[in-house]
């Protein structure tokens, strides 16, 4: 399997703090990878680095064989990496449908078009489809501010899905979602992904989610990967149990 994402000696230093420490990592095409780790173990910083939100202090990021280190989020996104956020980044004043349509317009590079309507049929159908698949069909016309936390999470994912990425990064898709909904949420997301076998990396605190959905797991601690392997192996790993799961 060819690697879709290759990280070489990736390091990010905020003043004194080493947020990411000489990270070396490969994600293979089609994988579903779960990242675990305590707060401040560098998980989110890792996503921010890959998507160009912050620049690495040292190291290179190669995506589909191309060096994308130092590209802006816009450029990274247009190259096929999409991400969702731990606290959803949405256009709060607009409806779920409009949010999705804007994402589609962004993908189509139509942001400058001041003439054709945004709500053109093709796009509306596509947006409706993705919203349905994520179970947001019946709240499509509600403004974001009136959505539930879970709904926002899903919409945030929807915005990344319509970009048709080849690599999807999700930051704690189920955090803030009630315990009974969390599997439901993940099921919807991954079902939505099924047709297009998108390589997926998601950060997760919830071990049940990891066990159930990840093929491979990475354990972060102190800005480095302390364990990498199948989920069972990771969860069995004493170091991980000690440092990440707090010896549960």
């Amino acid at each position: 399997m060819a690697a879709i994402l290759e990280i070489r000696n990736l390091t990010k230093r905020f003043g004194m703090v080493l947020a990411v420490d000489n990270l070396v990592l490969e994600i293979a095409e089609g994988e579903t990878v779960g990242i675990i780790g305590t707060n401040g173990s560098g998980k989110t910083t890792f996503l921010n680095l890959v998507t160009g939100y912050i620049l690495p202090t040292v190291g290179t990021i190669r995506f589909e064989g191309v060096d994308i280190t130092g590209l802006s989020p816009k450029q990274v996104t247009t190259r096929g990496i999409a991400r969702s956020f731990q606290n959803p980044q949405l256009f709060t004043g607009l409806t779920a449908m409009e949010n999705t349509l804007i994402a589609i317009a962004g993908r189509a590079g139509q942001a400058w078009d001041g003439w054709q309507p945004l709500k053109r049929r093709v796009w509306r159908e596509e947006a409706a489809d993705i919203l349905d698949r994520l179970g947001l069909g019946d709240v499509a016309e509600q403004t974001v501010s009136s959505l539930s936390e879970g709904g926002r999470k899903l919409l945030d994912v929807a915005l990344s899905l319509v970009l048709r990425p080849s690599l999807l990064l999700m930051d704690e898709p189920t955090s803030g979602v009630s315990v009974k909904d969390k599997f439901d949420v993940m099921d919807r997301v991954l079902r939505a992904l099924d047709e297009t076998r998108v390589t997926t990396v998601f950060i997760e605190h919830d071990m049940e989610i990891i066990e159930r959905y990840a093929q491979r797991a990475l354990a972060f601690d102190g800005g480095r990967v302390i364990a990498d392997g199948t989920v069972d192996a990771i969860l069995a790993d004493p170091v991980v149990r000690e440092s990440v799961l707090g010896a549960a």
Partner: protein
Amino acid sequence: MMAGGAGTPRLGIVAIGVLILLIFVAIPLFFSQWVVFLVTIALAKAMVVLGVVLLLRGGLISFGHGLYFAAGGYAVGFAMRFLQVQDLVLLVALAMIAGTVMAALLGLLLRRYRGIFFAMLSLAVSMILYTLLLKFYSLTGGTDGMSIHAFTVFGVRPAAGTTRQVLYYAVFALSLGVLYLGHRFAASPLGYFMKALRDNEIRIEYVGASIAQPIYFSYVFSGALGGLGGGLSALSVGQISPEAAYWTTSGDFVFVAIFGGAQSIFAPFLGSVVFEFVKNYSVKFSPDAWQMTLGAVLLLIIFFLPDGLWSFKDAASRLWARWRRS
């Protein structure tokens, strides 16, 4: 009629639309000439205000839109004085082009700015133009400005006494055109990206779009509207002077934008017409304290109708809905 206006009954809207249309068509026949003139000016200025509103939706306060207002006006003035251009259509086109070109240039710079910095830079630019207009005395007539004399329409000079009506209907027709453009704009990706921009810039980059691009194109469009409005109001006033670029003029446009409301593209037109009447009548009924009256009105709007006069429309449609249900 605006995108998203679904839910309010279609028929009602058509009826109201036609009604308003009829009223505007009939104004010159019913009302005294000064009202016709006042509405002409109001509509011309409303175009500029619409430009300001489209930027406001993106959270961009242009405190220098007088610049484009002046650009349009002086385009007409220069064209008449130095190129002997007489025809309304040509003059209006020139005014709009002047606004567009200036916006296309300044936009390259201003697109990098947000919020208060955008406001201040646009203010600075407009004040520079103001000073230049006043300095190049031999060319611009300085503070006395340039007088803009009679015009022709497709080469035909309007019969004596009908000039005002001709101008009124021209401005009214153009307003309809501008409304259509504005409607297309508001419903287009560009329009939505401006709203989105105000909500969350970061996400815009994460859907693979640039932030500067929507700002730039909106700014150019808004500049074009400014030029158009400036040209038309210069034609109806018959005079253009540097005060058009002065910061208080720009302040008035923002004033009216909030006064009318930024919700709908119709709001600036409503706001502008009402504002002109308020201004004239406060001068009429409180000649010694008309500024105070204006200030008070603005405060009332800000505190009790934060969405401007347009809030009344929502109230109305709510009532209409209730009436239909009963």
